[in-house]
């Protein structure tokens, strides 16, 4: 019971954070029923009944003219004047909220004005874009809390503790990505998956980014020049080593290949924005150590290391 209470407190805390993050547009209904100022209160009665709602914005063209509620309708019925035009009965210049206002603003306004709904307008164009009720806000928060809960579960599943949990004199984790025959469009998937795994293993985002950029360049090289290859990442507690291995044509002059701006890429590759002669220099800049072994006709092994803990 006590635990239940505590988790309830945590939940409320999360909802409070959410209302400072979410905007009105995330919660509002965009499917808005409205009436024209020239419609009658009898028309209002029909629409309210049909849609089971308690108020309607009054709109002429795109412009918001007012708001008419079930209370206005009841009054007109009591006075026997349901043939009155909406324009005679509506509240003019209603309180509005902008679609990019934070949800907390809407909640405060509901407390302050005690209205059941607020028309939502676009801040720039001032046109009606939706309507928001307390029910809309509650529904939106429930939905977000549910998905946040799911993300929490995922985070709990992180593998950051892996190396602490596995006892040995030396542990390493090897991730292999086969890029054999990889197409140009598919290139980048290996390094993108590698990045997600590095983050899951608790490696600092800045370090993971350097490894990803170097891997991406290596991957592109293998796709452009070799019709694919293999990307092998060896993750150790203090260091990540990546080997990009291919059986491609090999590099005749490694020193030249390392020069920024030197490229042997074909024209079609250059048109796509590759082949600027920056790939190998980029890899060198992103890594702490880099070794390039290549034999013409046999293939290339590019190895780079990034230290994850100084």
């Amino acid at each position: 019971m006590k635990d239940d209470k505590i988790s309830e407190v945590i939940r409320v805390g999360k909802a409070q954070v959410l209302v400072y993050e979410l905007r009105v547009e995330a919660a509002m209904s965009t499917n808005v029923c409205s009436v024209s100022p020239d419609d009658t209160m009898e028309d209002v009665r029909k629409i309210l009944k049909e849609h089971a709602i308690s108020g309607l914005p009054v709109v002429a063209g795109d412009e918001l003219k007012g708001i008419v509620s079930i209370e206005d309708l009841i009054e007109s019925i009591l006075e026997g004047k349901t043939a009155d035009r909406v324009s005679q009965r509506m509240t003019r210049e209603p309180v509005t909220i902008c679609s990019d206002d934070l949800l907390v603003r809407a909640i405060n306004d509901f407390g302050r004005y005690r209205y059941g709904r607020f028309p939502v307008i676009n801040r720039q164009t001032k046109k009606l874009v939706g309507i928001i009720t307390k029910g809309d806000i509650i529904r939106c928060l429930f939905k977000r809390l549910e998905s946040n809960h799911y993300e929490d579960e995922l985070r709990r599943y992180r593998a950051g503790h892996l190396f602490e949990d596995i006892r040995s004199d030396h542990s390493s984790l090897v991730l292999k990505y086969n890029l054999e025959g990889a197409s140009f469009e598919k290139a980048g998937e290996g390094s993108s998956q590698l990045k997600k795994n590095l983050l899951r293993l608790g490696i600092h985002p800045d370090v993971a980014r350097r490894i990803t950029i170097a891997s991406y360049e290596a991957e592109m090289n293998m796709v452009i020049f070799c019709k694919g290859g293999t990307l092998i990442a060896t993750i150790e507690p203090r260091c990540v080593t990546v080997n990009a291995v291919d059986q491609g044509p090999g590099i005749p002059d490694i020193a030249r290949a390392m020069e920024p701006g030197y490229s042997t890429a074909p024209d079609w590759v250059r048109e796509l924005g590759f082949g600027a002669g920056m790939g190998l220099p980029n890899i060198k800049n992103c890594s702490d150590e880099m070794h390039l072994d290549s034999t013409v006709g046999k293939g290339t092994n590019l190895q780079f290391k990034v230290y994850t803990k100084k």
Binding site: E21, R23, D100, Q124, F184, E185, A187, G188, E189, S191, S192, K195, P205, R209, T212, I213, Y216, E217, M220, L272, G273, F274, A276, G277, M278, G279, P281, N282, N285
Partner: protein, 111 residues
């Protein structure tokens, strides 16, 4: 500045990442050589390019860029949009040229 404000001011079409417009943009980078962007764009930058192929998503996601503006009203490939949605990279389209987009961003104080 938030991505949302840039989208409004430059009247960009939001192709992916409509739910990511609260991202902060800390600067911009314009370039069509992918390795150059990988080397010189900074984390959180908005990238202006004319490329539409899926590799732009890989570059933006490797570098943790805030988003991509594709210029000259070019339409990204289906695969690019699919990947961008998956990798949570906002793709925004401008009908203007790289030069005009950069000028407008400069006027907004984005350097």
């Amino acid at each position: 500045m938030k991505l949302r404000e840039i989208v409004n001011q430059l009247q960009l079409a939001v192709k992916t990442g409509a739910d990511l417009l609260d991202r902060d943009v800390n600067g911009g980078y314009a370039g069509d050589l992918l390795s150059d962007v990988l080397a010189h764009a900074r984390v959180g930058n908005l990238w202006i390019t004319l490329h539409t192929h899926p590799n732009i998503v890989a570059v933006a996601s490797s570098k943790d860029l805030a988003g991509i503006i594709v210029v000259n009203g070019r339409t990204p490939d289906e695969e690019t949009l699919r990947k961008a949605a998956e990798e949570q990279i906002p793709i925004l389209i401008s009908s203007g040229s790289t030069y005009s987009v950069v000028c407008k961003l400069g006027e907004l104080g984005i350097t």
